[in-house]
């Protein structure tokens, strides 16, 4: 098991290196952003660029890039959006907003999703099941920003319950802030709820028809006991890894939801770095998103092995 985990992590690391090198070279092939003349930062950035090897061959630049990261955790200096500032602290500053909005959304949607899934599976082929399944299908099909529109239109504009956009500032745990986050949280939740409902329903309805459930009933357990102790436990094998995956994903957030509700998070920073051609920032965020994506995949895979002893990860035939 440990060997498998290590193997996966090493493999992920190499994948990450290859992807980042490709992106790095593609980014450096682009002409560097022109710096504003006469700005006091310009000279500093030019010096920085010289140190980063802008005039040297690409592979040398790549070497310098990795050397800076591995030895000094130095991601470079923003040359457009935050002229002359280091990109890493800016990124860290933006991270909490994204993480908190997503955290709330997960805390809200996972229980709801699982409960809906359980209800649908227990009442399979009843009108309740059909309603839940159909709405799940519909909700999953439509991207989250359509809900964002609806929520903004009905709750913020028509009913005036929520503010249109998220409050500024960093007081993430005050009530006002919480209320202003809610539209974003809700829009993110729809998809997650539907996803968990679907997984839970499919998994649970399969487990409920297993023979060990019949055995559990025969040995005298009530239906509720049998469901909670045997069926749910078994269907958690699939659900728990999915929850882990979601938690890793919270940091990456949703570009579009952050844009709509003006969440001062990583997504907005990423968009700005693209539109403003801030390549150091873009490089950092690319690395971040790639890492998150790869890590989520690995954690989901590995957690299967830890949760269900029957699954032997990486075993041969």
């Amino acid at each position: 098991m440990l060997k498998y985990v290590l193997q996966r992590i090493v493999l992920m690391f190499f994948t990450l290196l290859i992807i980042l090198s490709m992106c790095f070279i593609l980014v450096r092939l682009l002409p560097p952003v022109k710096l504003p003349q006469g700005d006091p930062h310009t000279a500093a950035i030019e010096l920085q660029r010289e140190l980063l090897g802008y005039n040297k061959p690409l592979l040398v630049q790549l070497g310098i890039f990795y050397k800076n990261i591995f030895l000094k955790w130095e991601w470079g200096v923003s040359d457009k959006l935050y002229l002359g500032q280091k990109v890493w602290p800016i990124f860290i500053e933006k991270l909490p907003a994204t993480a908190i909005v997503n955290l709330y959304s997960i805390l809200l949607s996972i229980p709801i999703g699982i409960i809906f899934g359980i209800v649908a599976a227990l009442k399979k082929n009843s009108w309740l099941d059909y309603t839940i399944s159909t709405s799940t299908m519909v909700v999953i099909s439509v991207p989250s920003f359509v809900y964002a529109f609806l929520i903004q239109f009905f709750f913020s504009y028509k009913l005036d319950i929520f503010p249109f956009q998220m409050k500024e500032g960093t007081d993430f745990f005050t009530w006002d802030m919480f209320v202003s986050m809610l539209p974003a949280v809700l829009s993110l939740s729809f998809g997650v709820i539907a996803g968990f409902t679907r997984t839970t329903r499919a998994e649970l309805s399969e487990v409920l028809t297993s023979e060990f459930m019949l055995l559990a009933r025969t040995k005298g357990l009530t239906r509720a006991q049998a469901t909670v102790r045997h069926a749910l436990k078994n269907c958690m094998v699939v659900i728990v890894p999915a929850i882990f995956g979601e938690f890793i994903g919270i940091m990456s957030g949703s570009l579009i939801i952050e844009q709509i509700f003006a969440v001062p998070g990583v997504g907005g920073l990423y968009l700005n770095s693209i539109n403003g051609r801030d390549y150091p920032m873009f490089m950092l965020l690319t690395s971040f998103y790639t890492t998150i994506g790869l890590a989520a995949g690995i954690i989901v895979d590995i957690s299967y092995g830890f949760i269900d002893p029957r699954i032997r990860m990486g075993s041969r035939k």
């Binding site: 992807i19 490709m22 980014v27 299908m137 991207p143 359509v146 504009y157 570009l255 790639t290």
Partner: protein, 526 residues
């Protein structure tokens, strides 16, 4: 008794026995039922799935909408002939429905905090043009104020206005030929396009074409005929301030002019301004003159004043075509890559899997951005967008094909074919591939909504700008709609509705198709 019967049966004479089917050939009886092929079976199962059938019809409807809405719409996104944009963010309006007062398609837009001056102006527009801008008064707030030592009432209204009628009159400068052309048109069709001219000096220098009455101050308080009584401030009491032939110069008044009711022939309809004329036009009728029909925007207009009905169709056309192209190219590449992986296995599989692993690790957003930065200048935004999708899009299809190949390559018929000396390509594409085709093709139906969704997301975010190529796109429309959500909710609702419907229908349809082609997944929710 029993004994005698037995005896009888035992003693049947031999010559009474005959062969049952003597002289005939004996066949198996032909099956009475009809044989059902694979496709037919799939179709049968698909038909049983009601929601997918409905989804299929919705897709057909939406596709037809995309094809025909730009054709039937009298407007085009970039009309070269007409330089003027008339109605920005105007709500949906169909005159025949609006007349029924149902509250829909009436061009109704909310107007808050309207003061008395503006309300008077609306009433004056009604009086002059015959088109009532105010559909309903939703709320009236009355306040008492002391003005020059006198107490008087002021009102603030919340109105639902017809955004098309409330434009009222506008000043236009046009050539004399144009002016005569409009007059001729007006007389022929009995439409009052050009209204009697009102000079700025007569209305306290207020620069507002809607004011045709005498005013008492430069805020626009109307002067009433009955100045003494504090009686009804009715629009009928307003004193017209139309310029007459005596005091103002205009073009020749002797040519036939379309005159308003109550004109004794003294009103002038134009005011000389250099070699051109300055006129007051009835905006609604001027529009009718220019376009040849009255304004009718089924879905209203966009932020840029375009017909939303047409814009949605235009945007959806691109999305649909793009998605189909991407899906088919990805399918082609994925099938080839996946079949090689799956068929040869071993080291080939390992190496190719690593390659696709690495590619799939790059976030789509990053790929699209990099392609956009590198290629968009050279090959244009659409091809670079296409490349970006193809770059990572085929991976899903490849892994699906690979799985199918793993499933079938150990089967006996493959072994038999190989024993008979078939080449690898023959086994791959003649024997294994047709078996996995159903699964592969149906998954294509789920690729299409995925591509449409992410394309719309990217255009919404403004990472890609396709408006130069396609005119517009669903993402752009939604982005504009979101900006003007509070002033013109329709401009967000219609594109979002179309988009949501498209996504739901494609997903339901794709799922139905997948279930129909895969008997093993039948009954699973998904």
């Amino acid at each position: 008794m029993n004994n005698t019967t037995n005896n009888k049966l035992n003693n049947i004479p031999k010559n009474l026995f005959v062969f049952a089917n003597d002289g005939e050939r004996i066949h198996d009886e032909k099956l009475k039922t009809k044989a059902r092929g694979f496709l037919k079976d799939a179709f049968y199962r698909f038909k049983k799935n009601k929601s997918s059938v409905i989804a299929a019809f919705i897709i057909i409807f939406l596709v037809l909408f995309a094809i025909f809405s730009p054709v039937i719409s009298p407007y085009t996104l970039q009309d070269k002939n007409i330089t003027e944009v008339f109605f920005y963010e105007a709500p949906p309006f169909i005159e025949s429905i609006a007349e029924k007062n149902l509250g829909i398609f009436d061009g109704g837009a909310k107007r808050d905090s309207i003061n008395d001056f503006t309300y008077n102006k609306y009433m004056a527009i009604y009086k002059e043009t015959g088109l009532n801008p105010v559909i309903s008064i939703d709320k009236t707030i009355t306040t008492k104020v002391i003005y020059r030592g006198q107490e008087r009432e002021e009102h603030y209204y919340s109105l639902t206005n017809n955004a098309y009628y409330e434009k009222g009159a506008e000043f236009r400068t046009m050539t004399v030929e144009e002016f005569y052309k409009i007059q001729q048109y007006s007389i022929e069709n009995n439409i009052q396009v050009i209204l009697p001219y009102v000079h700025k000096n007569d209305i306290k220098k207020i620069d507002d074409a809607d004011i045709w009455y005498k005013v008492t101050d430069n805020k626009g308080t109307p002067q009433l005929k009955d100045v003494n009584g504090d009686g009804v401030k009715d629009v009928n009491d307003y004193v017209p301030a139309y310029s007459t032939a005596k005091d103002k110069s205009g073009v020749d008044n002797s040519v036939p002019l379309k005159r308003v009711a109550g004109d004794d022939g003294s009103y002038i309809y134009s005011y000389a301004k250099g070699s051109a004329v300055h006129v007051r036009v009835n905006y609604y009728n001027y529009y009718t003159y220019l376009y040849g029909h009255e304004p009718m925007y089924i879905f209203g207009t966009t932020e840029g004043g375009y017909c939303l009905f047409e814009a949605i169709g235009q945007g959806a056309r691109f999305s649909l075509i793009f998605a189909v192209i991407v899906a088919s190219i990805n399918m082609f590449l994925g099938i080839i890559y996946g079949s090689i992986e799956g068929y040869f296995g071993g080291t080939t599989d390992m190496v190719m899997e690593r390659i696709s692993d690495i590619l799939s690790g790059v976030p789509t957003m990053v790929v699209v951005t990099l392609f956009q930065l590198h290629l968009a200048q050279k090959v244009g935004p659409v091809p670079s967008f296409l490349f970006a999708y193809i770059m990572t899009g085929w991976i899903g299809m490849a892994s699906l094909t690979r799985k199918q190949f793993y499933r079938f390559k150990g089967q006996e018929y493959v072994l038999a074919s190989r024993t008979l000396g078939a080449r690898d390509t023959r086994i791959m594409f003649k024997h294994i591939f047709p078996n996995s085709l159903g699964t592969i093709i149906t998954s294509c139906a789920l690729v299409i909504p995925g591509v449409i969704g992410s394309e719309t997301t990217l255009t919404y975010l403004g990472i890609i700008d396709l408006s130069k190529v396609t005119g517009t796109s669903l993402g752009v429309l939604m982005q504009q709609g979101q900006n003007s959500m509070s002033t013109a909710p329709h401009s967000m609702i219609f594109p979002a509705l179309y988009f949501a419907l498209l996504m739901i229908a494609f997903n339901l349809f794709g799922n139905g198709l997948r279930d129909a082609f895969n008997p093993s997944t039948r009954g699973e929710e998904g």
